[in-house]
């Protein structure tokens, strides 16, 4: 079946532009404060655009709706993209992105539930933690008969944590058919290539041997990704008791040529000149606008570099 915009009932262009805006925001947030993790965040722009632009049934005015969908970011370091998506869909004021990683901010360097209780379901940062929490939420939703679905995002390097494998078994055992796990499968982590550090391949075989339904897709092709997120694999009805994993092939630093596929950009902040260049490469997003600059730009003192 040919995948077209119509067949997925989604404003494809809107999602693409939203991803572009997320990328712009990510670069500006990180360059603005002088530290952060651009690589994974840029790579997950389409994932966040789709989640908040069409997949998640959430409404900023109904954050207590028991039937709302939930999102759990397990690889918390890429939260710049998460905050950006929230701000683009009315969950956060756009200007607040200026406070990212600064003192007294709600936008902590890694998402903090106590700072944003209804938006951040669980604090993350230490890898491997969030996915278990997502399982717990899914269990509770099942108990309560909620129609809500839980989506959780993990990094591929993150999967090296043993707790992820515990959580994979838990979801299968407790038949968490209301859970979708997305893997940002970019093949890189801080010290280099995942396969040279601690190989995960064949990842799909691993997931399947753990009792999961698993689809592999291009993490930047919004049509394919949308189908993976919403439609059954191979034409079968969406399984109701198997948890579902999406291996979303992404590119670290996607959209910024000098960052693409380079592990060094996992956690390096671009210099002001590099940030300029990056924004130029990303381009403008139709239908979206940059968040307003900081009124007191002196607050931004750092020059970029590694942590």
């Amino acid at each position: 079946m040919v995948q077209t915009a119509e067949s997925v009932k989604l404003d494809i262009d809107h999602i693409k532009e939203m991803a572009t805006q997320i990328r712009r925001d990510v670069i500006r947030m990180i360059a603005g404060v002088g530290s952060g993790h651009p690589g994974g965040a840029l790579g997950a722009a389409e994932i966040f655009a789709l989640l908040y632009g069409g997949v998640l049934r959430v409404d900023p005015r109904k954050l207590k709706d028991p039937h709302r969908d939930r999102f759990v970011l397990s690889n918390g370091h890429i939260c710049a993209a998460f905050y950006s998506a929230l701000s683009l869909k009315g969950f956060l004021p756009r200007e607040e992105l200026n406070t990212f990683r600064r003192i007294n901010s709600r936008l902590q360097g890694h998402p903090a539930r106590v700072k944003l209780p209804d938006l951040v379901e669980t604090s993350s940062g230490p890898l491997g933690q969030g996915f278990s929490v997502a399982n717990g939420i899914a269990l509770a939703l099942k108990l309560d008969g909620s129609r809500g679905r839980v989506y959780s995002l993990v990094g591929d390097g993150e999967i090296q944590e043993g707790q992820v494998w515990e959580a994979l078994m838990t979801a299968a055992q407790h038949r968490l058919g209301n859970l979708t796990l997305i893997v940002s499968y970019n093949g890189l982590q801080i010290d280099g290539e995942v396969r040279k550090i601690k190989n995960l391949m064949p990842l799909k075989a691993k997931f399947e041997s753990f009792g999961w339904e698993c689809v592999e897709t291009d993490g930047h092709d919004v049509v394919a990704l949308y189908q993976a997120l919403t439609e059954p694999a191979g034409g079968n009805p969406m399984s109701t008791d198997k948890p579902r994993a999406i291996l979303a092939h992404t590119v670290m630093g996607k959209g910024v040529p000098f960052m693409e596929n380079k592990a060094v950009w996992h956690g390096t902040c671009p210099t002001p000149a590099q940030a300029e260049e990056a924004l130029l490469a990303i381009g403008k997003a139709k239908g979206f606008e940059d968040y307003p600059a900081l009124s007191n730009p002196d607050l931004s003192t750092r020059k970029g570099g590694k942590r």
């Binding site: 379901e121 669980t122 604090s123 996915f131 399982n135 717990g136 043993g162 707790q163 515990e166």
Partner: protein, 317 residues
């Protein structure tokens, strides 16, 4: 539920869970392949779909509990003390404490009375590991009755809470109607010559020691410090002021636990001599509980000796 004869502290917990199961549909229970050891098998039988068997995966269990709490449940996660507080330390820190998630962590096998299983299964660090976490409440009941009431109080309390439940049968020291308030210590024996501050199964030894010293004309105050965090500052400082010297006793390392909490407080507010009775910074071993307590200096006799040392160190009034 009232215990009259010596009973395992964990039995009070298991019974309270049954009552909570009836009373509050939000209460759910998780265990990591140790349902009987921590007495949640009764709950499991009665409320099977609110009971989650998580297998031997304590970190994931704690994270899952945090998720259940985030979604409005009141989860009790249960396993041995070492596995909840050490093995699952990061989930407790991040997903429970930092999240301020309403999770109750209930454990058996804190201390050395574990017996034959030996050092790896004897958590002499759990209180220290939990105490350093911001926002963590720590309750260590001294008998099965108190465990029962503490469990009910834990469910009512909103926030992360660690409940340490002894394994072996201990004498009943509190009545079913003894008021139990988290954070409010109980004075079980009056006296102004010295104060013993104890928690858990050691409270019984404290009462015994006070009786022995009473025969020598010494009036020793016995404080049941069932809540190690937040520490009842006023009870400790009052004892320091009125008695002039303190002895702490706990089935835990002398580092980081109740003894440490007491010395921190008096050093900052009212310095007096403090003797700490506990495991003296060594790992435990296999043996019968009474043999271990003896070998590691956790008997009434050891406590009396510590009291005498403390009395000697008191400033003449």
């Amino acid at each position: 539920m009232i215990f009259e004869k010596p009973a395992p502290i964990r039995d009070g917990f298991g019974n309270a869970l049954l009552e909570l199961g009836e009373k509050d549909p939000r209460v759910v229970v998780l265990t990591a392949d140790l349902s009987e050891a921590i007495r949640v098998h009764w709950f499991a039988e009665k409320f099977p779909h609110r009971f989650f068997q998580m297998g031997i995966a304590e970190s994931d269990m704690v994270g899952t509990a945090a998720g259940l709490a985030v979604a409005g449940k009141i989860p009790f996660v249960t396993t041995f003390a070492a596995f909840a507080t050490s093995l699952a330390n990061t989930p407790v820190r991040v997903s429970v404490a930092y999240n301020q998630a309403n999770v109750k962590i209930a454990t058996s096998h804190g201390g050395v009375c574990v017996g034959g299983d030996g050092a790896t299964h004897q958590s002499i660090e759990d209180i220290a590991l939990m105490r350093v976490l911001p926002g963590m409440t720590i309750v260590v009941p001294c008998d099965a009755n108190e465990a029962y009431r503490a469990t009910l109080a834990a469910a009512e309390y909103e926030g992360p809470l660690y409940l340490r439940l002894g394994r072996i049968a201990t004498p009943i020291l509190t009545k079913a109607h003894t008021p139990f308030k988290i954070g409010k210590a109980q004075v079980l024996a009056q006296g102004n010559d010295l104060a013993i501050i104890a928690c858990g199964a050691m409270v019984g030894f404290a009462l015994e020691a006070a009786q022995l010293l009473d025969k020598k004309g010494l009036r020793v105050r016995v404080i049941n410090m069932h809540t190690v965090k937040p520490l009842d500052h006023s009870a400790v400082l009052k004892a320091a002021q009125e008695c002039g010297a303190l002895v702490t006793m706990e089935e835990h390392s002398i580092i980081g636990g109740l003894g440490s909490a007491v010395t921190e407080l008096v050093a900052e507010k009212y310095p007096v001599p403090v003797e700490r009775v506990g495991i003296r910074d060594v790992f435990g071993e296999s043996g019968e509980p009474h043999e271990i307590l003896e070998k590691y200096g956790l008997t009434t006799k050891d406590l009396v000796k510590a009291c005498k040392r403390a009395l000697k160190r008191k400033e003449p009034k």
